[in-house]
């Protein structure tokens, strides 16, 4: 299978990057009769930018929702910063989430709040984590980083899809997390806006050196933003490797994705 790796056990990629921050072992997740993840294994190292690809409905979003504790796995272990997500208390999970940003596919901005209030919300809720500097400064800095400082007093309904995505990214990064999970950040956007979002993600990654997991179907995004790609198929991490490795594969299940 050329240089790409088909994996049934967790395989740490690019050991030079740093210690593992996410370890997924034999993860299982079902919805009723439907088995979504059957024996999923994955290791994400510190500073790594991992892209997870695969067909729609294959369980990519389920994977990252399990990582952040929004869904409870039915089996296997899932450790983030060494803590087993399914065994920690609610309080510990909230503490852990301070270090994980999540960019939703639909942006998930709070409709009833202005952009300022949307960005302030995670800051105001974190009573246990002292934040230096005032809220206004942090919000403005965050908006400047995504190039939308003039939208501060607008409502989410007044923004375009691309702007909403940018604000979603700004909100998830405002707590300066060590891990950022992106759920299809370029889906539903025109090619120019997609390109802008890809550049934004790459810029932010270079600035803050975060560990990222990016769920996408966008080959361009995978090419530019990843240093490692996992291809999900039949509930497992079917194939792993760099973009260059996967693009050369002759596997009939993977090849059509990169053509």
């Amino acid at each position: 299978m050329e240089n790409a790796i088909t994996s049934e056990k967790p395989v740490a990629q690019d050991d030079k990057k740093g210690e593992p921050v996410i370890i997924v072992e034999h993860l299982k997740k079902n919805f009723g009769e439907k088995v979504v993840l059957s024996d999923f294994n994955l290791i994400v190292n510190k500073g790594e930018s991992m892209v997870v690809m695969g067909r729609s409905g294959i369980g990519k979003t389920v994977l990252i929702k399990c990582i952040i504790g929004l869904l409870k796995p039915d089996g296997g272990t899932l450790k983030v910063f060494g803590k087993d997500i399914s065994k920690i208390t609610r309080r510990d999970l909230d503490l852990l989430r301070l270090n994980i940003g999540f960019v939703f596919q639909s942006s998930a901005l709070y409709d009833s709040m202005t952009i300022r209030q949307n960005l302030e919300f995670p800051l105001r809720r974190q009573k246990i984590k002292p934040m230096k500097g005032d809220l206004n400064k942090l919000v403005r800095e965050s908006l400047i980083s995504v190039g939308l400082e003039n939208t501060i007093d607008l409502m989410p309904s007044e923004l375009s899809g691309g702007m909403r995505k940018r604000i979603g990214i700004a909100r998830s990064l405002i707590l300066k997390p060590e891990i950022v999970l992106y759920d299809e950040p370029t889906t539903g956007l025109d090619p120019i806006t997609s390109k802008e979002i890809i550049n934004l993600i790459m810029d932010l990654q270079h600035q803050s050196n975060t560990t990222s997991i990016i769920i996408t179907h966008d080959v361009e995004l995978a090419k530019q933003a990843s240093n490692h790609i996992v291809f999900v198929m039949d509930g497992i991490a079917y194939m792993q490797g760099t973009y260059e490795e996967l693009v050369k594969t002759e596997d009939p299940k993977v090849k059509p994705f990169f053509e």
Binding site: R90, R97, L98, Y110
Partner: protein
């Protein structure tokens, strides 16, 4: 015969399963909301905001309905009372019927429609657009922030709305009495308050808290379990109104029965 039995079982299962699932969801939500409301941290700011949205915005509708209700009650009953020579009982009759039953019940039914559907639609759309998940990953307990606060706000504001509606209904009754005859304001309200006793006001007041709890609980539960996108949100808002109204009527019956057993009637 076997086929008929199977069809009957399938029909019963299809009809009863959603009922029991819904009842279980309501019970689970009710218990959890009580637990979340009494354990810190408390969401005072959001509760006050919801009190404003739920309460203050409902004052015009509830007030206008109360006024018309009192007016119509008097206009309908006055001819019969006068015919039997009991016209002087009009203030007492209207006060007892408004305070004990009609005021709280009509206010609760209006709130079930206006507030229950609003809560359900808001939480439902937050659910389908992943806003609740976003709240959770921000380290916020969405159940405490969204559900417990709204139920608390309903429990606080619906009694106040009921008192307000009762007041305006009594004003409406006074206006109605004055349409056909002339009656002094002081005389009318003296008769009203003479007729009212603690046993009339207390059960009625307690009832409004339970109405508030039921309306908030049903709205939140239905909204939180919304599925299938915007269509599901509409369906849950609709279901919320139906279930909340039925709950109000059943609670009214049960509380009236218990009040009677305790000697409050």
């Amino acid at each position: 015969m076997i086929k008929q039995n199977k069809a009957k079982k399938a029909f019963l299962s299809e009809t009863l399963d959603p009922f029991f699932v819904s009842a279980a969801q309501l019970a689970q939500f009710g218990w959890r909301s009580i637990r979340e409301a009494v354990y810190p941290p408390f969401e005072f700011q959001e509760t006050f905001r919801q009190c404003y949205l739920i309460g203050v915005n409902s004052f015009p509708l509830v007030g206008f309905t109360g006024l018309i209700l009192g007016l119509v009650l008097v206009l309908q009953s006055q001819p019969t009372l006068v015919e039997f020579g009991a016209g002087s009982y009009l203030p007492a009759m209207s006060s007892i019927s408004i305070i004990r039953e009609v005021g709280p019940l009509v206010t609760a039914l209006i709130c079930a429609g206006k507030i229950g559907s609003g809560i359900s639609a808001e939480i439902g759309s937050m659910k389908v657009t992943e806003q609740i998940d976003a709240m959770e990953v921000s380290g916020t307990n969405p159940f405490k922030f969204l559900v417990a606060t709204r139920i608390m706000a309903c429990m606080l504001m619906i009694p106040i709305l009921c008192i307000y509606a009762d007041m305006l209904a009594l004003m409406g009754a006074f206006l109605g009495t004055n349409i056909t005859g002339t009656i002094n304001f002081n005389f009318f309200f003296n008769r009203v308050f003479e007729a009212l006793h603690f046993t009339d006001v207390f059960p009625s007041f307690i009832k409004t808290f339970i109405f508030g709890f039921a309306i908030g609980l049903v709205g939140c539960t239905k909204g939180y379990h919304s599925q299938n996108g915007t269509e599901g949100v509409g369906m849950s808002a609709n279901e919320s109104v139906v279930v909340a109204m039925l709950s109000v009527i059943v609670i009214d019956l049960v509380v009236t029965q218990i009040s009677g057993m305790l000697g409050y009637i």
